[in-house]
Structure formats: C-alpha cells, structure tokens
C-alpha cells in the first residue's frame, strides 16, 4: 500500500496544472469579491486570447456594478505599484498563467 502510494504521488504532482481562480490579495467585502471573481473568470474565458479585451470587459462591468472609476490589468508578467480606494482591490490569478489586478481610484 505505502509503496504504491509513493509511486503514484510524484506523477500526480507533475500532471496537475491548476487553472482555478486563486485570490492572492483582496480587501473587498466577501460578496463583492465573489462577484468580481466570477466576472474575471467569465471575461478571461470569453477573451482567452485577448487580454486587452478581457481587461476592458472587466473594467466596464465593474464600473457598471460598483461605480467608476475602476482600473484593470490582465497579464502574464508585470509589476505594479498602485494606490487604491480601500475595499476595492482584487489581485488574483486565473488559468494558471494570468494575473489580474482590479482596483478603484
């Protein structure tokens, strides 16, 4: 039993590619966070090849839902230093290689 498990495990870890949305940092209220996360998932799935379009969609939806002005960054590699209105920041990963930052200022 123990040996069998041991053999299987390393293979498993290699295979797994995590694609679920992972919230890295957020100070949004729980409800808003969930809504935003769902929005991000929808947008990134819809525009899987076009980050700009995804970012635009997220921004516009966020503006509509929670009031402007929101800023959105979608990308695979970037650095940022932002100042944001408290309770309006979401920094999350999605799809295994995308990072999404949403903030209001």
């Amino acid at each position: 039993m123990g040996d069998g498990e041991g053999r299987e495990k390393p293979e498993e870890t290699k295979k797994i590619v995590h694609t679920y949305p992972l919230i890295r940092h957020s100070d949004m209220p729980e409800e808003m966070k969930q809504e935003s996360m769902e929005l991000v998932v929808t947008a990134c799935e819809k525009h899987s090849t076009n980050n700009e379009a995804a970012a635009r969609m997220i921004k516009e939806e966020m503006d509509k839902k929670f009031g402007p002005p929101f800023h959105v960054v979608v990308g695979e590699g970037f650095g940022f230093e932002i100042s944001f209105e408290c309770q309006n920041l979401l920094y999350m990963f999605f799809g295994g290689n995308l990072a999404i930052v949403i903030w209001k200022c």
Binding site: I16, H18, L22, R24, H25, D27, G75, E76, G77, F78, G79, F80, E81, I82, S83, F84, E85, C86, L89, Y91, F93, G96, N97, L98, A99, V101, W103, C105
Partner: protein, 734 residues
C-alpha cells in the same frame, strides 16, 4: 318763464330756415340745364374721326362683377407644406377706416344704462347732460320725435353762431343765454329727484380686464456662507510583481493548503459522524482554525506516542504476545476431555484498583478492544468514583480511553454500528453516553440527575437497533423495577419507560396506610438476537420475565428460575431459543424458550457472577464464581461436569465478577473485584471444532454446530418429568 313758450319760438325759427334751404336746391337744378346748353364741346386733336356707319355701330358693353383691380393670383408661402399657395381672392370690399368695437356711443341706450348702473361721477354727467336732458326729457310729452332732433341740431350749432356773431347780435343773444341759465336752474330739481333712483341700486359691472396690479417687496434674508470638507475615502497602496513562477508557486501553495484542509475536514467529519454533545459543539465554535491545526498536530504527536508505547509494551511482554497468538497447550493431547486456561496479560488502571470490575465487554468492531466498568458490588463499602476504561490487547499497561465518572459504573455497552458510542449505567441510577472518539472527559449525553433517572442501580444497559429516523437508542434496566428506553435526541436523552416489573402479588400496605404494588428489581436484561421486540429480564427475586417492548403491562412468560438474584442471562449464539442464566444461588441453568423447566442445571458451589456462551461453539459456555474460579463447560463433551475449572485469583481475597468471550480469538477476559482484568487463552480442548460426519462433508461449521446442539437437546427435551430429578442428581460439587 314757462318753458312751452320758449320752445315755440325756437320752432318758428327752424321752420323758416328749412324753407330757405329747399329753395336753394331747386335753383341748383336749373343752373345745370343752363350750363349744359351753353357748353362747347372741345375735341382732342388726336381723336379718331369716325364715319357715320362706324358711329352707328353698336358696340356691346358688358358689365361684370369682376373687379379688374383685384389681383387674382395672390400667393402666400405655406411653411407647413413648404411651398407657395394660392390665396382666395379678396372680396370687392375696401376697408377705408376701421375702429375697434369696444366703444359705445354715449347717447346710445347701452351707454346710458352703463352710466346709470356704474353711477359714475354724477356731477360730470349733470354738466354734460344738462343740455341734453333739457332737449331730451322735456319735449317728450308734447313734441314729436322729428322736432327733438332738430332742436338738438340747432342747439349744437348755437355756440358756434354765438362765437361768430358775438358782438353783432349781443342783445338778442343775451336773452337766449338768460333763458338757457334759467332752464338749467329749473331743471336741476328734477335731476335731484332722479338721483336717488340711480344711486339706489349701484350694481358692480364685472369686467375681467378691469384689474389693478399690486406688488409688495419683502426684505431679503441675510445670506451666510458655510463650508465643509468631507473626509477623503481611505486609500491604500499595494504593489506586487507578476511573474509566471510567482503564479505557479502561489497555485502550489494554495493547493497544498487545500489538501491539508481536506484532510482536516475528513477527520472532522469522521468525528462528527457520531452525535456530539452540545458542550462539544460549543467548544468547536470557540476554537479557531489555528487551534484546530495545532490540535491536529497534537493528535499526530499523540498517535506517535501511542505507537511507541505499544512497541515498548510488545517488547516487554514479548513472550505473552507470542503465547497469545501461537502457543497451544501440548498437554491437552494427553488429557482426555479437560482443557486449561493460559493466563496472559493483566489489565488494570491505577486509579481504579479499589473498584470492582462490574462489567466487561468486547468491542463489536475492534477485536482487540474491550470496555471495562469500574464500580463496586460490596455495598457495605461504597466508593465515590467509577470509571469506564477501554483497553486494547496491544497495550496492556494503560487503557486507551478513560472516562472517569462521579459515581460507580455498573454496566456498559458499545454500539454495534458506532463502536465509539459507549453507554454506561451508574450506581446512582443515571445513564450516560460517551463518544470516546470525541472526548472522554465528559459524556456526550447524560440523563438528568433529578428528573430523568432510575431510582436504583442501573444494572444493565443495552443498545437497541436504531430508530427509523436514525436516532440511536438504548434500554436500561434498574433496581427500581423499570426498564427504560432512552433516545439520543439532538441535545438530550428522551426517556420512555417500557415496562415496570410489578410482581404478581397483592398490594402491600405502606407505613401510612397507602397501598403499594410491589415491584421486582431487575438485575439483568438480554435481548433476543433474532426478534428485536423480545427480551428477557432477570430479577433479584430470581424470576426471569420474557417481555416484549410492544407490551408495557404484561409479561409474555415468567420463569421461576432461581432462588437468588439472577446475575446474567445469555442467549445461545447458534440457537436463539436456548438461553442460560446464572444466579447467586450457585446455579447455572440452561433454558429453552417457552419451557418453564430448565434443560440443564449446574451447581458450582459458589455465587455465579457471570455466564456466557462461547461464540465458537454451540455447546460451550463459561462462568465465573465468587470463589475466583472459571468454569468452562462443553455439553457435547460432558453434560455433567465442567471440562475446565481453574482458579484465576486467590480464593480468599478475590472474587471473579464478569467474563466475556472474544468474538474472534480463543480468549476470554475475566474481571475481579480488585479492579483487575485477566486475559485467558482457551486451550485446544476447550474449543474443539465439530467434525463433519463422513457422509456430510460439505456442511459448514455453523450447521454442524446447530446440529450438535439439536442432538444434545433432543436427549434432554423429551420427557418433561425427567427434568426435575436432573436438578438434584446432576449437581456437582466443586
């Protein structure tokens, strides 16, 4: 001067003037004739000379209604249609002067009315009207209308004439003026007389255009300025770098955390499967996540320590461990029928050395785990505390679970489906349910110490099959003659009394004259293994009652079994119609259902604390006595004598109280009154398996065992009369 005369004069002058005018008109007509005759026709030089014929030619003249001056093609731009449009031709009428019709001639009837009704300035009116009234009102009775007009015309002319001929006709006019003034004076009284009439009914004429505008200017309120500034929304700064490896690491980390959480969740669920008490539920709410984690870590450490402890124990008791599994007494081959018991480990717990082992029971799920109750049976020396300990054969030095109680524990039962649910009955009459997996410190359920309890020692508890709703429930029998059913509700125990064991005796008079029905004191209970409703109750009076949970007032059967309290009853594993009972009257009796006389009676010469059928054989049972001996019978081998009698503890100091067969291994445990549990291994002679007859090789052990018992029973069953002599004849001496 009378007015009539003056008017006549005026009239005379008028007629004169008129005749003069008519004369002049006639003269004018005559002049035209004369002028025409004398006129010479002048011809323009360029006039056409027409011949006679041409002149005679009659040129027809047409007279039409068309006015050549009127334009017929007047157009007007229509903005709606965006083009010019012919206008209808204007009529032949030419407007020379136009005046708005809001004016009324002041002499017309309407004007007069208005003046009268408005009652405007009578003074002004008098002056302006004085002359008129004179002319208008005076002549009415005498003179016809034509004359009046003439008079009015004359009077209006008069002033002009006067100015023209002021100087020349001074005298003649003087009279006229005097007359005029006189008239004015004479008329006034009449005017005065009229006045009250007009002023009497002043009627306001409604005129919507007749309004006056009024306005007022109020003071302006003083102005004040006030300023405020809101607090800007709180801002924060955040910075991070996004790189692929950061994302990957974050996912890995989160995944591991999830795995850990799942593991914890699983553990928690396993714990939650068992209903937990509200204390625990509350405790769970209080502890945070971190605390849970540390608990999990502690649990793992504890696990390690347990394994270590077991390893050490295995080392110390190496020989016993080997005996327990592999040693078979070789001397059995040379002994004909008898067997021996090999003592293995002794289990005890330091805190309960003074207690008596009141009940022992193997766990139905783990074959190496058993529960031991520590209470007391010597009621001259009561003890304050009791305990339930769960020992495992793997660790003889210390119990795996310890549940300390504040009263002596008299009985225990482990739930067959949930092996961590342990119910205990206490000396003080209450019952408790422990979830040993969750916590041993406090019971998950506990009967109320005041309202929900037995009024006597709880002698036996027994789990019942779960209710249809999945609620666990158990039965308890007590000295107070009641058998209760307890249901584990969400937070508490719900109790129902199944039966009260009233004796079939007349009512007894109490000290104050009241009548009391005597109750039997139940001392043990056993449920029928196949019919869940049927159960047997042994009492301290020595009776065994066969009851059903469906009837709460009557017994199905009453066995007059013993002369002393019945300590334990046990159903045969193979034939549920057969049961065995033991008693304080030194005897062990084997009964068949619905047969009031016992099939076998064995006298062992001492108080029999417990008797149990062996799980591996239909004919083997074992009993323990207060003399410290274990008796093992095999009816198939010897119907009269035990095949093994062995003193386990010293006869003088110790008593044996309980015995229990391990359901899997050839091991029995016996408890004594010094809080010690002894493990004994049965030698091969005590557990001889059935040999299948040559003709029926295919039969399995179960059927063979049943057949063996049936064969044995058929020997003793037939004549009912034979049973009685057996009772005395077959008693054996120890």
């Amino acid at each position: 001067m009378p007015p009539t005369t003056s008017i006549k004069k005026v009239l005379n002058t008028k007629t004169l003037k008129k005749s003069r005018q008519s004369n002049t008109r006639v003269e004018d007509g005559d002049d035209l004739e004369e002028w025409k005759k004398s006129k010479q026709l002048l011809r323009p030089k360029d006039q056409l000379e027409l011949s006679e014929g041409e002149l005679k030619d009659i040129i027809a003249r047409q007279l039409g209604t068309n006015d050549p001056l009127i334009p017929h093609n007047l157009v007007q731009f229509n903005y709606a249609q965006g083009g010019f449009e012919l206008m209808p031709p204007a009529g032949p009428m030419i407007v020379v002067y136009e005046a708005q019709g809001t004016q009324v001639h002041k002499e017309s009837e309407e004007a007069k009315k208005q003046v009268v009704e408005q009652g405007l300035d009578p003074a002004i009116l008098e002056i302006s009207q004085s002359t008129e009234t004179l002319a208008v009102e005076e002549p009415i009775p005498v003179i016809p209308e034509e004359v009046i007009e003439e008079v009015a015309a004359e009077e209006s002319e008069k002033p002009e004439e006067e100015t023209e001929a002021e100087e020349g006709e001074g005298e003649g006019e003087g009279e006229g003026e005097g007359e005029g003034e006189g008239e004015g004076e004479s008329i006034r009284p009449e005017d005065d007389e009229d006045k009250p009439q007009t002023g009497g009914k002043p009627k306001k004429l409604t005129n919507q255009f007749n309004f006056c505008e009024r306005a007022a200017l109020t003071y302006n309120n003083p102005m004040r300025t006030q300023e405020t500034q809101t607090i800007p929304p709180p801002m924060g700064t955040f910075s991070a770098n996004v790189l692929q490896w950061i994302i990957y690491d974050a996912y890995q980390e989160d995944f591991e955390a999830q795995q850990l959480e799942k593991e914890l969740e699983r553990e928690r669920k396993e714990k939650e499967k068992a209903p937990v008490s509200r204390h625990q539920a509350m405790a769970k709410k209080l502890v945070g996540k971190a605390h849970q984690l540390s608990e999990a870590v502690q649990g793992r450490v504890l696990e390690c320590w347990k394994v270590l402890e077991r390893m050490v124990n295995q080392n110390t008791f190496d020989d016993i461990a080997k005996d327990y599994r592999y040693w078979e007494d070789p001397s059995d081959e040379f002994r004909d029928e008898e067997g021996t018991l090999l003592p293995l480990w002794k289990f005890h717990y330091d805190k309960t050395r003074k207690n008596t082992v009141t009940d022992i029971e193997w766990n139905p799920h783990y074959y190496d785990l058993f529960a031991v109750c520590f209470g007391f049976l010597d009621f001259m020396k009561p003890l304050e505390e009791g305990a339930v300990c769960l020992f495992t054969l793997k660790n003889p030095s210390f119990p795996d679970y310890i549940c300390m109680t504040d009263s002596a524990v008299m009985c225990v039962d482990t739930h067959p489906k949930y092996p961590y649910m342990v119910v205990i009955g206490l000396y003080d009459g209450s019952v408790s349910v422990y979830n040993v997996q969750a916590t041993c410190k406090q019971p998950a359920f506990r009967s109320n110490n005041v309202t929900n309890k037995h009024r006597g020692i709880v002698w036996e508890v027994k789990w019942a099959p779960d209710l249809p709703d999945g609620e666990m429930n158990f039965y308890s029998v007590s000295e107070d003659g009641k058998i209760n059913n307890w249901v584990l509700m969400q937070n508490d125990l719900a109790v129902t009394t199944i039966i009260t064991l009233f004796l079939a005796k007349d009512e007894v008079f109490g000290p104050d004259g009241t009548k009391l029905k005597v109750k039997g004191c139940a001392s043990c209970v056993k449920f029928h293994p196949k019919q869940p409703l049927i159960y047997l109750v042994g009492t301290e009076e020595g009776h065994i009652y066969k009851c059903s949970t469906a009837y709460s007032s009557m017994f199905l059967l009453t066995y007059e079994a013993h002369h002393m309290p019945v300590y334990r009853i046990d159903f045969n594993r193979y034939n549920s119609d057969i049961f065995i009972s033991c008693s304080g009257d030194w005897r062990i009796k084997i009964w068949e259902d619905n047969r009031l006389e016992p099939l076998f009676v064995f006298d062992v010469g001492a108080c029999v604390g417990d008797v149990k059928w062996a799980p591996y054989s239909s004919t083997v049972f074992a009993a323990v006595t207060s003399e410290g001996k274990v008796y093992v019978f095999d009816l198939n081998v010897n119907k009269y004598k035990p095949i093994c009698v062995q003193a386990i503890v010293s006869k003088r100091r110790n008593k044996l109280t309980r015995i229990s067969f391990n359901p899997k291994l050839p091991i029995i445990i016996v408890g004594d009154d010094k809080g010690c549990v002894q493990t004994l291994k049965l030698s091969p002679n005590l557990r001889i398996p059935c040999k299948a007859p040559k003709k029926q090789q295919h039969l399995d052990q179960w059927t063979l065992q049943c057949m063996k018992l049936d064969k044995l029973l058929s020997l003793v069953r037939e004549p009912g009369a034979l049973d009685l002599p057996e009772d005395t004849a077959e008693s054996i001496e120890s």
